[in-house]
Symmetry: C2
Subunit: 368 residues, 2 copies
């Protein structure tokens, strides 16, 4: 089973990837916590719990089942206020400094649970068991945790690394196909920014991957996690290199905001954002056209990506409030080849408007 | 002006102590932030703002006044839910990653503001300008931040060190005398646990100190901060030495809880707690009786400490939920001489009951 080490200045942990991991969790977790008597609390959604509780609980002895905290699913519940009741539940259930939280869910549950662990009693340990492809290839690794404010997404949070990450490929079986495809866009991203081999694999094997072939998915997940582990190992706090993970996200986040986070999944918005950033590179003459075509086609291969309606100017304006941009500068990650990007802060409004317009045109032809 | 350096694994900063500091803040802060254009946000209470806004704002240029966020005063507003509206206000006012928060207030404002800074955009910088004696000698230094849950005090928070601490002794002029005296108990604590010189000074100079003589207060504050800086420099995360700061707090917290946080100020409850811990030491034969008498008399000299009513058994039971105690063990800090303590986990329920009883008897004679 692939095991990928994450080593940052604040933590060292492993990401274990495999099939049939879920029914073996108990002893793996006991090894990590160092004690079979550690109190465990699993945070999940009612839907995921219904689907997976039997397998999840299988390995735990009767008298040492984790306490279950259910949280409603959906981005709209990834809110600061919603965290309070989870905290109160932890306290009522006498969670202490040695207790360990387990996030069983997608990125929403992972981000909330990580934040809970970061602030409960000034920090307790937690474990990620990601159940969406996006969470497996991206959000469960790297220690970014957080919740949304009315004023914006992920405006509140902490850096808090997990004690371990257990990725069971089998758990993707029940994931809706659109969620799988949206998540795969983050793997396309991983390929474009730093993993040409992964990109080529995704380019040529899209059929097997999209069918949900477990071996193919395991390959994609493993390569994506390797890339992310490397990057956060070098730059945990996003002062430099880690910014490349935001390829496609400057305009992607603006598209999400312009469509009120309702019409597109995150990965779908990022797909359009990656295309737009690629077009900026082409216009600048820093990316060979042949590479641009490969990137655009591979992004679209993991569609269909839904069309949306939003004024070009509004999308561009919305990039201004992206918290990734210090002191008002808009930061872009621009591909210079398949597998290599540059971080720039000098993209003009005209360039953005042009690339967004072209992207919307392409969308009319090739969006769903 | 005394300047005390705090050096922990995560931060290095100075605590500046003096008179007339408030009207000089602007350039001191600009030096720390590295830029006069950093956006500043001051968090304070309406009462403190009314008393001190003129002096606070004096040094800031007209076009660079900090944005003011008012928060109602009182422990009952140090709540997780209350933090959300402050966070939304920060976002509405476009606070960014480079913005700096300033806590102008007592321990409640300091703890809330530090927590805000810890989690807004996954961590921004903040500065402490403590306005109560307790905040000056204790809570503003060391990076513990946090808020309360329904289920208990300080159950949520972060370790997040400030960028700097500015202690203006003059600001204590408007502090109610009972608050001054309660805060001084934390300095008595500092003396007992690690600063025999400070203890002797407080023992012999209680008149000048209690009168609010600025020179005397400056001495007490400086020595207390020195002690705390040393301890958190050695053990930032309270894995060992830092626990000694909890002298008087095991039974003190239980007394606060038993009286529903309404009858006693924190320092007053801790005063009874220090007496009780001292009595445990005497019973154990680990503290010379002469030292015990000096400790008890000095604690009482900084009274009057109000009487309260609560069943002895209830107080002892309430020590069980103290989050300082890992895995159910009750931890006590017991003096072995003036200036030296031991950390123990083997105090029996019988010892606690006996010491609490004796303390309540003493209270009947010498409490207010
Ligand atoms: N922390 C990070 O570094 C990071 C990185 C990227 C994204 N994120 C965050 O991740 C979130 C998005 O995560 P997501 O895409 O996983 O969304 P999600 O967590 O909302 O999950 C999507 C949907 O799939 C359902 N689901 C999850 N697993 C399932 C399974 N195995 N079978 C059936 N249904 C299942 C969920 O109930 C939900 O309805 C966003 O909030 C984003 O901000 C965080
Ligand atoms: N973070 C830490 O390490 C740490 C350590 C000890 C205590 N604490 C926390 O500190 C809090 C208690 O702090 P506190 O005793 O400063 O209480 P506080 O902040 O509530 O202040 C006490 C009262 O004095 C008023 N006040 C403050 N400064 C004033 C001034 N200069 N003039 C007139 N009035 C003034 C306040 O408005 C308030 O009503 C508790 O919540 C406790 O948990 C934290
Ligand atoms: Zn993303
Ligand atoms: Zn205290």
């Amino acid at each position: 089973m692939p095991v990928i080490a994450v080593n940052t200045p604040t933590a060292n942990y492993n990401v274990v990837i495999g099939r049939g991991l879920l029914p073996t969790l108990s002893r793996r977790i006991a090894k990590l916590t160092g004690s079979p008597s550690t109190r465990l609390f699993v945070v999940t959604t009612p839907e995921i719990w219904k689907l997976w509780q039997r397998k999840f609980l299988a390995s735990f002895p009767k008298d040492a089942k984790p306490v279950v905290l259910l949280h409603p699913s959906g981005e709209s519940h990834k809110r600061f206020a919603a965290v309070e009741s989870l905290l109160e539940h932890l306290a009522e259930n006498k969670a202490d400094r040695d207790s360990v939280l387990i996030a069983l869910g997608g990125g929403v549950i992972g981000d909330i649970t990580g934040f809970l662990a970061a602030i409960y009693m000034r920090g307790i340990r937690f474990i990620q068991v990601p159940t969406t492809l996006l969470a497996q290839v991206d959000s469960s690794v790297g220690g970014k945790t957080g919740v949304n404010l009315r004023a914006g997404k992920n405006l509140v949070g902490s850096f808090h690394q997990p004690l371990g990450v257990f990725i069971d490929i089998d758990i993707l079986k029940t994931l809706p196909p659109a969620e799988l495809r949206a998540g795969l866009q983050e793997s396309v991203k991983a390929g474009v920014i730093r993993m040409p081999r992964l990109f080529r694999y995704m380019e040529s094997e899209s059929k097997a991957i999209l069918k949900g072939d477990p071996k193919a998915l395991e390959k994609v997940v493993t390569a994506s996690v390797k890339m992310k582990a490397e990057v956060v190992g070098i730059d945990e706090r996003e002062n430099g290199l880690r910014m490349i993970l935001n390829f496609g996200h400057t305009l992607g986040h603006a598209i999400e905001a312009a469509t009120k986070y309702k019409q597109l999944l995150h990965g779908q918005a990022i797909a359009w954002g990656m295309i737009a950033a690629t077009l900026i590179s082409v216009e600048r003459g820093i990316l060979p056209e042949a590479d641009a075509i490969r990137i655009v086609n591979t992004v679209l291969a993991y569609g269909p990506i839904p069309k949306f309606r939003a004024p070009v100017q509004q999308i561009v304006d919305l990039t201004g409030s992206d918290k990734k941009n210090r002191s008002g500068q808009r930061r872009f990650i621009l591909p210079v080849s398949v597998g290599k990007v540059e971080i720039v802060t000098d993209v003009t409004e005209a360039e953005m408007l042009h690339a967004t317009e072209q992207t919307l045109k392409l969308m009319q032809e090739r969006g769903a």
